[in-house]
């Protein structure tokens, strides 16, 4: 069985080609970093058996993020029999850099020259036969998105002789002499070249004894002095020189250079004047589509349909005459829980669809470009913006979207702060409480909840960055891809893939969680006997007992009755349940979710304004629903981090609610004190921001740099000497 790896630059069309070659349906997008894990599938071929592995895109074998390492390690460890190097012909020079690195590895290789249609459109041309001759590996021109050249490529794969070694790139004498000396010690030209470029990092997994290591290091420093250029720049420089030579011989540029359509579009979309307004408009539209009247209407219809369907099943279950608890398990535990989650689906699908269009067109990269400045102040990168925005709708897709961030730490931080952003399901809680108690000022109160959520999210990001991920800078260096017209097929595929993922998750992990929660909600002691409870007896349930038991803990933050704690607990299933549970516990007749005003009297009787505000704060900031928790688990990939973040959220929710409630006790006008507490929070943010600025963490290039104001050259020279010194320490 032939093991083939697809290697290429980010956004060069690997996943599209992978789909064509294997017939699978993987998500693709026009934005670097869509593939974050490796995937494999079988090559469609009648003649040979081969697996194809789709790896994350890399610009070079030297990596800066975890996903890149997946691909890089695969090559360095030579885990494949054949490389298909996909080269974006419309961006030949930079793409060939990786190609030349791959050639050094001596792994059998085949080049798929992609985007030939783009080159032709520009009226440029590439003499790929000549290119193939110079490089010494077969080249097949293709257009992965238009499925041109696929048969040729498959035939070429079938025919290739993986025993045959292609010729190695020979650099100039100076470089070859250095490589030769390194090679004498490590006995592998590829390792010698990697060592030349990457230093000690290249020796991971290479076994050398003490004397060899010492010799190699001594050699490194003597060789270093022989080259005029910085040592790590010598090879890349030589490589780019070679590439330029090759490109000049084979790439024929159209004499008339027109302004590209991408440039024309960008003149407006990323311009100083219109860039931000257009960005805001696009984001508003996406949001409006998913969570505005249209999305809500579709959701309501869908929920109605689901309920009808479930009612039909429940009817069937009941008619079977099974034991009560089994009927309750199926109807309340499984279907009740599933309905709460599946109800999100239409809005999510709309959201995924809109985001897929933004991704496929290439606008997403621009969004990150536009927002980077605003987020870099908090130690995040521009790419964190999209997940946070989606978080206003629903945390689940927002957390899944953090995958497009290219730094693992950034991804963790963004995942952990997204739940603080007030999601759509929390809105009914504010609606009911603010409506009942704050009268005309209710919309300010509701708005303040959104602001509070965002503030806590941003402050937490700063905190995580300063304390937990010290030393990690949110790197930002990104290519802006050319705009493409999104295809319907691709967009739908994207939408389907992500919706499916959500459903599968709802069906597995969540199901188990729902059953546990159902048990706690529907079983309890009534008059000394432990039995199944009816809907109206939820106060007697185990959950109710827990609610009563933990009530003292919640007293300081203004919870006066166990109904409040129990309703908060039911929020674990879905935040919408909070209001519904309160309705049941206060014995309100009618559907409080459909008509919040029914609850007003009970809330006015049981809560003061300060208590209500503390309750809303706690509901906003405490642990998100179980769907969001399982999404976090998926992205954090560690129980340790998950437990940490859940505890963190609980503590933060408690502390903030406590602060607000206690403050409200001291002041006369409650609203006024809420206002003051907001000012305090803003003040703290400003202070922290100032702190970051003073430390100059945005640069990260030389210590104590920002204190001198502008960056002068002498500082750099000093810094450089320092790094050289550090190299020798290692």
């Amino acid at each position: 069985m032939l093991n083939i790896a697809l290697i290429g630059n980010p956004n060069s069309g690997k996943t599209t080609l992978y789909n064509n070659l294997t017939g699978s349906n993987q998500s693709v997008g026009n934005w670097p970093g869509v593939t974050v894990e490796k995937k494999s599938g079988k090559l469609i071929s009648k003649n040979i058996e081969a697996t194809i592995v789709d790896l994350p895109g890399i610009y070079s074998l030297s990596t800066i993020s975890l996903e890149e390492e997946v691909a890089s390690n695969y090559i360095v460890n030579k885990e494949m029999d054949l490389i298909i190097n996909i080269v974006d012909a419309s961006n030949l020079e930079r793409n060939l850099f990786l190609t030349f690195q791959l050639l050094d590895s001596n792994i059998p290789m085949l080049i798929a020259l992609n985007a030939m249609d783009v080159v032709e459109k520009k009226l440029d041309s590439i003499d790929y036969k000549k290119l193939s001759k110079i490089i010494g590996v077969p080249i097949i021109p293709i257009s992965a998105s238009k499925k041109i050249g696929m048969d040729n490529l498959i035939q070429a794969i079938e025919k290739i002789d993986i025993q045959k070694v292609h010729k190695t790139t020979v650099y100039n004498d100076e470089i070859e002499s250095t490589i030769g000396k390194f090679n004498k010690i490590v006995n592998d030209r590829f390792v010698a070249i990697r060592f030349f470029e990457d230093g000690l990092k290249a020796l991971d997994g290479i076994h050398l004894d003490g004397i060899q290591t010492k010799d190699l290091l001594e050699l490194y420093f003597t060789e270093k002095k022989k080259h005029i250029l910085d040592f790590d720049m010598v090879l890349p420089n030589a490589r780019y020189e070679k590439i330029l030579e090759v490109v000049n011989q084979t790439y024929l540029k159209n004499a008339v250079q027109k302004e590209s359509s991408t440039d024309k579009i960008d003149k407006i979309l990323t311009s100083k004047t219109f860039g931000i307004p257009i960005f805001a408009l696009i984001m508003f539209t996406v949001f409006f589509l998913a969570f505005g009247p249209i999305g809500t209407f579709i959701t309501n219809q869908f929920v109605w349909l689901i309920n009808q369907f479930f009612a039909w099943i429940i009817g069937g279950v009941n008619s079977l005459g099974m034991a009560d608890y089994i009927g309750s398990l199926i109807t309340n535990g499984i279907f009740g829980g599933l309905a709460a989650v599946v109800g999100f689906l239409p809005q999510l699908a709309i959201l995924f669809f809109a985001l897929a269009i933004l991704e496929d067109s290439g606008y997403m990269a621009r969004a990150a470009f536009i927002m980077d400045r605003a987020l870099s102040r908090f130690g995040l990168s521009g790419k964190s913006f999209i997940p946070m925005l989606i978080g206003f709708g629903c945390s689940v897709p927002a957390i899944a979207n953090t995958r497009t961030l290219d730094n693992d730490d950034d991804r963790k931080i963004t995942t952990m702060i997204v739940p603080f952003v007030s999601c759509g399901a929390k809105a009914p809680i504010y609606g009911v409480f603010a409506g009942a108690l704050f009268g005309n000022g209710s919309f300010i109160v509701v708005f303040s909840m959104y602001v509070l959520g965002l503030l806590v999210a941003i402050l937490s990001a700063v905190f995580f960055k300063k304390v937990l991920f010290r030393g990690s800078t949110a790197n930002y260096i990104m290519e802006l891809p050319e705009y493409r017209t999104p295809t319907i097929k691709n967009t739908l595929r994207h939408t389907w893939e992500r919706s499916k993922e959500f459903l599968v998750k709802a069906g597995t992990i969540l199901l188990a969680a729902f059953i546990v929660i159902w048990f706690f909600s529907y079983f309890g002691f009534v008059d000394g006997t432990f039995r199944l409870l009816t809907e109206s007896e939820i106060g007697n349930s185990l959950l109710g007992s827990i609610g009563r038991f933990i009530l003292p803990v919640f007293k300081p933050i203004g919870f006066t009755d166990w109904q409040a704690t129990v309703s908060i607990l039911t929020g674990i299933v879905a935040k919408e349940s909070v209001v519904g549970t309160l309705g049941i516990l206060y014995g309100v007749n009618g559907d409080v979710i459909q008509n919040g005003t029914l609850l007003y009297a009970s809330i006015q009787a049981h809560f003061t304004t300060a208590q209500a505000y503390a309750f809303m704060t706690f509901a906003l900031l405490s642990t998100p629903c179980i769907a969001a928790v399982s999404a976090m688990k998926r992205e954090l990939k560690s129980w340790k981090w998950l437990i940490f973040i859940i505890s963190y959220e609980m503590i933060v929710a408690y502390v903030v609610a406590l602060g607000i409630y206690q403050l409200a006790q001291i002041e006369l006008g409650t609203l006024l004190s809420i206002f003051f507490s907001m000012i305090v929070v803003i003040f703290v943010i400003l202070m922290i921001r100032k702190l970051i600025k003073n430390k100059g963490s945005a640069c990260g290039s030389c210590e104590k740099c920002a204190k001198t104001g502008s960056c002068g050259l002498p500082e750099f020279v000093k810094y450089k000497e320092k790094t050289e010194g550090r190299d020798s320490d290692e």
Binding site: R94, Y240, S376, I477
Partner: protein, 75 residues
């Protein structure tokens, strides 16, 4: 002067790269000594900046741009 000081529309040649945490990436993306760079624009909020290098659009923060020493050239 550094790449940060080059105004949109101006062209320059890279002389030296001092950046540390993204240094290797910057080099591998084609910003090596002798490379011609056209500064296209800065983002609406003033940072990052977009440059044209080796025929493609690259965006990087000014924090990194000021660690790249360049010579301005007239086109």
């Amino acid at each position: 002067m550094t790449l940060k000081e080059i105004l949109p529309g101006q062209t320059c040649i890279v002389k030296q790269v001092y950046s540390n945490n993204l240094r290797k990436r910057i080099i591998d993306m084609g910003l090596i000594t002798g490379t011609k760079v056209l500064v296209k624009k800065t983002a609406p909020l003033g940072d990052p900046m977009e440059i044209m290098v080796k025929g493609y659009s690259l965006t990087l923060r000014k924090a990194e741009a000021r660690t790249i020493i360049v010579d301005r050239i007239e086109e």
